[in-house]
Symmetry: C2
Subunit: 459 residues, 2 copies
């Protein structure tokens, strides 16, 4: 990253770093489209009314004002002001409701865009970053098979990024209904409060969470213990998952016929379906992990977080869930399932922990030398001939000494320097990495496969 | 465009429109990289101090404030506040100065990003749009051959977009030194004022401009006449250009040895070089047009505007110029040449005037049918097999009646529906556009070339 971003929280990449981000972005898009997701882009702004409706981060937004309005910003109520979006889910919901008549449901879409969080500047926190999202939105109904398909698409996308140095990723899934049913079954009422505390287990540890459950959510010792035991369940086997969860519910005396138990079982059925189907297609890619809570209040069913092997401290790099009540219009509802990759954080990790980098800074694989400025048009024509055959190339900035021209290519990582033939002699091309030089014709020469495309390497 | 964007000036595309924009973006990037330009991305914000330094639009900016600061926005001086960038040139200059030590000069970069103009809402004006820029930045010096190379790269990019329905484009070039030398030579002093009026010729006509030159810039009848005659010169022949301009200077008595004439000649030499070289490589792609002025005050040499055949009223779709004084640090200067395509406007034109559209809304070329939910995993496996061979596909949302599944494919423009074989029979695949149906194996079947990729069509 550009050393000490000149505005804290607004990272900028150097060209070679940007090349990695670009490749990550292209790879994700390719996988999303391979799976039939349709690309959209929403405007960067939403109304204050729309931004302030939902979500834990809703208070960390940037509001806009035109320069001409400075000093009179407060004349406009916040709901009517424009603010930068803080995620891509709220804009998607608004877009779907506005354009429902032109869309085909279920609507599967991908979206890769910048989002902004109007946080106080803090070390290591991004205030501008890129998210890569997939969601599927139904009209009035949405089959639950999407709750396993979408995380599996993300798994295959993250798997593909291992080619650029990303460690293996595992999706940890839970279900809000399962948690809520269990909590209600043991007599707790402040469900959001309990989820909020459970969400902190990895950060502050179970003992501290137990204390908070008792102090903040009115849990008894036994209730707190039960919550932590539930949160401790982790399984990649659907049968084991169901048995363990059922046994725990029985242990704490949750009546098999009560409403709470039925809610819990609904969640458990979906979660075990996810684990079972995922195991069939990509073993060990999705595990049930009952401490996953997700702070955002709009999730109503499955919730997901994704962790990288050996990078637990990075936190979740791909999160999401099912939300049945985010969008509606009249009697129509638009339930959805979606996951979001924190692309900037992922790229940052790949750059710093895996040393991901492009083979060269310049996209060009050839630099055409210029003997003297009067002959530049000859070099230009050679470059043009190469480009016609899709060989990216550059022409030397000036007819400087040859050593200087080669140094320019070298600094940009351009592997070949092309020498236009003088006095009727043939052109020659030199691979400045291997030192090999050969005669060449701009109408037929091809770079060695290894040097043709600009590969991302790592390690 | 989404009918009546829900926030005026912030356009959003429907999925099929976004597909066109995406293809335009990909095409531009490909051409830029083919020519050795390096991609970068800058943060969306700059400081008020940086945004308010230069440029005609500098006053049309959006400032940001954190929600927590509402009511106290004015505690922070505007220079220290953050604002959204209104172009990609000011951010580039800042980026280059900040990272000069890590870059290789001349630094050729492409950048495609959103920009924002904090304008009062008006019919048909975008307040958020995408620009596609190429610039080359030198350190202390920058050879003038870039002043013909960069517009030629844009010409080849726009030429490529004709495949998607864009009309032919012609770059109109002028040179600030030529104009300034001529104006000074005939005794005018308010150079910026004169350029500002000349810039209006296409909008308000020469007579009105003549009146303004006299009223606002202190020009005499003869001086106003001379300015309009100069602005009337248009030529695609370098020799004719030089002769006509020289003859006009002589006609108005500009001394061949004075400083003003030397300045004029400098500009004329560069402009004739551009016309001459362009004629060699792409005849008629760049013409000299001496009424091109460009409002922005940072241009110091060549200026360019680009017009589409039959779409003069659209105005310039690709503009730029040479700027020698935009960035400096200590004794180092960073002269540049750059052009910017107004991508949103271009795409808008392609959508509405050329009816550019993708062959299908979904990126998938195959929809795998599902006979019943219990068999979904079989359809999933078929889809997975196809994807392994890079065939984009989707699986039916539900095991609805076959007609409904086919209708879903049809609405998304997916050409093939795949029927998993029942009772040990072979799978079959149907092209729902032609009606042809054949047995198929997910490990080897290929779509017809015509239906394999999602082409952009028009007309």
């Amino acid at each position: 990253m550009v050393k000490g971003a000149s505005i804290s929280g607004f990272p900028e990449w150097l060209p070679s770093e940007k090349a990695v981000e670009q490749r990550v972005c292209d790879t994700l898009r390719t996988i999303f489209e391979l799976n039939g997701f349709i690309g959209i882009e929403t405007r960067a702004v939403e109304t204050g009314a729309s931004l302030l409706k939902k979500g834990e981060t809703s208070k960390e937004i940037y509001l806009l004002s035109r320069l001409q309005e400075v000093g009179r910003e407060s004349d406009t109520p916040i709901e009517d002001r424009l603010g930068l979006h803080f995620d891509l889910t709220v804009p998607l919901s608004r877009y779907v409701v506005e354009n429902a008549g032109s869309l085909t449901f279920p609507f599967k879409r991908w979206q890769i865009q910048k989002v902004w969080r109007g946080e106080r500047p803090q070390e290591g926190r991004f205030r501008e970053f890129v998210q890569a999202d997939i969601d599927v939105i139904g009209q009035n109904e949405l089959p639950d098979h999407y709750e396993v398909e979408l995380p599996l698409v993300m798994v295959s996308a993250l798997e593909k990024l291992r080619e650029f140095g990303l460690p293996a990723a595992t999706v940890h899934a839970n279900n809000r209904k399962l948690s809520e049913g269990f909590y209600r079954g043991i007599g707790l009422e402040d469900i959001e409060g309990v989820l909020h505390q459970i969400d902190k287990i990895d950060k502050i540890g179970p003992e501290e969470v137990s204390r908070l459950l008792k102090e903040e959510c009115g849990a008894s010792d036994s209730q707190a213990e039960a919550c932590l035991k539930l949160a401790g369940i982790q399984s990649s086997d659907s049968k084991e998952l169901v048995e363990t969860a059922e046994a725990l519910a029985d242990e704490y005396g949750i009546d098999k016929t009560c409403e709470a138990r039925e809610l819990m079982n609904q969640g458990l059925r979906t979660l075990s379906m996810i684990v079972e189907k995922a195991a069939l297609i990509r073993p060990e890619s999705i595990i049930a992990d009952l401490k996953i809570a997700r702070g955002l209040d709009y999730y109503t069913g499955s919730v997901y977080e994704t962790f990288l092997e050996g990078a637990q401290s990075l936190g979740s790099v791909c999160s999401g869930g099912r939300y049945d009540k985010l969008a509606s219009k009249g009697s129509r509802t638009y339930p959805g399932v979606g996951l979001s990759i924190g692309m900037s954080r992922l790229v940052s990790y790949m750059l710093h922990s895996s040393s991901a980098r492009p083979a060269r800074v310049s996209p060009a694989s050839v630099l055409v030398a210029v003997w003297n400025e009067e002959d530049r048009s000859r070099s230009d024509r050679i470059a043009d001939d190469l480009r016609k055959r899709s060989i990216a190339c550059d022409v030397a900035p000036s007819a400087a000494k040859l050593g200087k021209q080669i140094k320019y290519a070298d600094k940009l990582g351009i592997p070949y320097v092309w020498f236009p033939g003088e006095n009727g002699e043939s052109d020659e091309v030199k691979n400045i990495i291997t030192g090999e030089q050969e005669t060449a014709d701009a109408d037929s020469w091809l770079p060695e496969e290894k040097y043709a495309s600009n590969k991302i390497i790592f390690g």
